[in-house]
Amino acid sequence: MHALALSAGSLRFALPVRAVAKVLPRTRLKPVPLAPPTVAGLLPYRGTLTPVVDLCRLTLGRDAQPRRATRIVVVDVGTERLVGLLAEAVLDLIEIQTTVPGLRLPEHPWLGDHLGAQVDAPQLLDPAQLLPETLARLFVPAGGASESVT
């Protein structure tokens, strides 16, 4: 099992590869007025407008700084819904060997166990839990289904 290592500031996270649809360079996003700040915009992806969420915003409360390794990771959050995750830096593909549980935050279930018992061990992100309920509701179009990715 491999995971895509990301970083947000000095925080390191990892996304299971299975959930990753594509890694894309940081392109221009269509702005969404009146959306919460965690929403970076809408990404045109294969004929759809995929909402993109800023990982930095989610975790650090600030916008992602533009870096050369900044990527938009198109994530499958289950139920054939895609969400873009704006990662400040995509590092590498790493192999998941061990998971060590850290601290579970009830209101942030998407923060999972850590891939090691080191200080700089990346924390797993659960894509299905990635979006908090309130945020997830925002992304669901009323009665409409988006094209799923295979």
Partner: protein
């Protein structure tokens, strides 16, 4: 006493006048007596005329002509005839002349008429007969005619005689009347003369009396005037002159003397006052002149002091001149040094220029390097992008491979390798970027250094220029200084001259002071004389008593 003198003289004069007048009156009476009509002289003259008249044949009477004619009647001698005719013609001429006279002279009246008309006509006829008929007849010895003419002539002669006798009568009557009238007039005149003489004598007596009175008054006034004059002469100016009326010379004299006395009094009073003022003035003069003497003394000492000061000035001027010379020399040397400095700076200037040029060259070279560094950076950026893309691609590939499961394992390795290469490239490019940045920094630093250097060179050049300018200023100022020195020397010389002149002037002033001193002494003596004179004047004036 003067009064009697005047009166006596007056009496004498009047007496003499009266006597002379009486003599005159008496002689006038006598003359009248003698020259009156029918008086002795008149009678004598008339007697003389009567005698002449008795003897001479009157020319207005033609009796002589008649007589001649009668004589001609029987005369045969032609010489006698001529002679008689000649005398007859002469008589006619005389008659005509006398006729003309009486025609002119006689006042018109019966006498004139008889004389100039009636008698004249008869005479005229007589003469006409005689000259036109009788004489030619006589000459021609025409007896008949002669006898004819004669009675005619006689008739005319008688007529004339009658008329002429009447004239005589009338004239005699007239004369008598005139004599009577003259007599009356003379009598009247003698009466008048008598009356006048009496009156005049009375008047003379009256005048004599008046004259006496006037003479007395006059002599009184004159006496007063002389008394006053005498008192004034003796110095008493307080005399009061009595008021005088009258307009004659003596009153005028008295009044004149009064005013003269008053004027004299005023004059002497003023003179007294003036003499007092003069005295005080003379005293002031003396004081002033003493002050002046003192001043002149001071002046003398001041002059000596000034002379000493002038000497000092001259000495100081010489010292100053020497100092100036020394300073001038030093200034000259400074100028020479400054010029050397200037020429030295020119070299420096050239060097600086070369430095500046070298700096500019280096700057341009560094700029070139910077450009190339920029190009490298561009290339590196491209490489980085490619590496980036490669990285992304490899990741995507790995993801797909992972999803593919078993089949994708080999691909996964491959993707990992590619990713490693890309990462290495990225790292390398980072290094390159770093190096380029360092190079650029170095270049920038170098450019800055060169700029600073160029700036310093420029400022150096500017400094050199400044220094050159300052040298130039030094030189100019030294030149100015030289000129000023010249001016000062000139001034010094003038000052020396001036001091000399002052010395000369001092000498002159001293002479002048000496002269002034002499003059003052003279003035002093003059003042003394003045005081003496004033004292004398006062003495003289003191004689006069002005009563004040």
């Amino acid at each position: 006493m003067h009064g009697s003198e005047l009166a006596r003289r007056q009496r004498w004069l009047v007496g003499i006048f009266a006597v002379l007048f009486l003599i005159f009156a008496f002689s006038a009476w006598r003359t009248l007596e003698r020259v009156r009509v029918n008086g002795p002289i008149y009678s004598e003259i008339i007697l003389g005329n009567v005698l002449i008249a008795d003897i001479l044949p009157p020319p207005a009477y033609i009796i002589e002509s008649y007589l001649l004619a009668l004589q001609l009647v029987d005369e045969r001698d032609p010489a006698r005839i001529n002679d008689l005719v000649e005398r007859g013609n002469r008589l006619r001429v005389e008659y005509d002349a006398r006729q003309a006279f009486w025609r002119r002279t006689l006042p018109s009246g019966e006498t004139a008429d008889l004389m100039t008309n009636v008698a004249a006509e008869a005479a005229h006829d007589f003469f006409k007969l005689r000259d036109e008929i009788f004489v030619p007849a006589v000459r021609a010895d025409d007896r008949a005619r002669v006898r004819e003419a004669l009675p005619q002539m006689h008739r005319e002669y008688e007529a004339h005689r009658l008329a002429i006798d009447r004239v005589v009568q009338l004239a005699t009557e007239s004369n008598k009347q005139l004599e009577a009238a003259a007599e009356a007039t003379i009598e009247r005149q003698r009466l008048i003369l008598l009356v006048l003489a009496t009156a005049i004598l009375a008047v003379v007596a009256f005048i004599a009396v008046q004259g006496q009175r006037h003479a007395r008054a006059l002599s009184e006034r004159i006496a007063t005037a002389s008394a006053i004059a005498g008192r004034v002469a003796s110095g008493d100016l307080t005399t009061e002159v009595p008021e005088t009326e009258g307009s004659d010379e003596s009153s005028q004299l008295l009044r004149a003397i009064a005013s003269m006395t008053a004027s004299l009094r005023a004059l002497v009073t003023r003179a007294k006052q003036a003499s007092i003022e003069l005295m005080s003035t003379a005293t002031e003069f003396a004081a002033t002149s003493r002050q002046q003497e003192a001043t002149v003394q001071n002046f003398g000492s001041s002059t000596s002091q000034i002379a000493a000061a002038v000497k000092e000035i001259t000495a100081t001027s010489s010292e100053l001149m020497n100092t100036m010379e020394g300073v001038n020399q030093v200034a000259g040397q400074t100028a020479a040094l400054a010029e050397q400095g200037q020429s030295g700076l020119t070299h420096l200037d050239a060097t600086m220029d070369r430095l500046a040029q070298a700096a500019a060259t280096m700057a341009s070279r560094l700029a070139a390097i910077r450009e190339e560094a920029a190009e490298i950076t561009g290339v590196v950026t491209t490489i980085t992008k490619v590496a980036d893309q490669t990285n992304m691609l490899s990741i995507n590939a790995a993801i797909e491979a992972e999803k593919a499961g078993e089949q994708g394992l080999g691909f996964l390795v491959l993707a990992r390798e590619i990713r490693r290469l890309a990462d290495q490239t990225a790292v390398a490019t980072l290094d390159i970027e770093q190096m380029v940045k360092q190079m650029q920094a170095a270049v920038s630093a170098g450019v800055m250094e060169i700029d600073r250097f160029a700036e310093e060179v420029r400022s150096g050049v500017a400094s050199v220029a400044d220094v050159g300018g300052q040298f130039g200023q030094i030189i100019t100022q030294v030149k100015t200084l030289s000129e000023r020195f010249d001016a000062v020397s000139h001034g010094m010389r003038s000052q020396s001259l001036g001091a000399q002149q002052i010395g000369d002037a001092m000498g002159q002033l001293t002479d002048g002071a000496r002269q002034t001193s002499t003059a003052l002494r003279e003035f002093n003596s003059a003042t003394e004389s003045l005081r003496d004179a004033v004292a004398t004047l006062r003495q003289e004036i003191a004689q006069f008593n002005v009563g004040g």
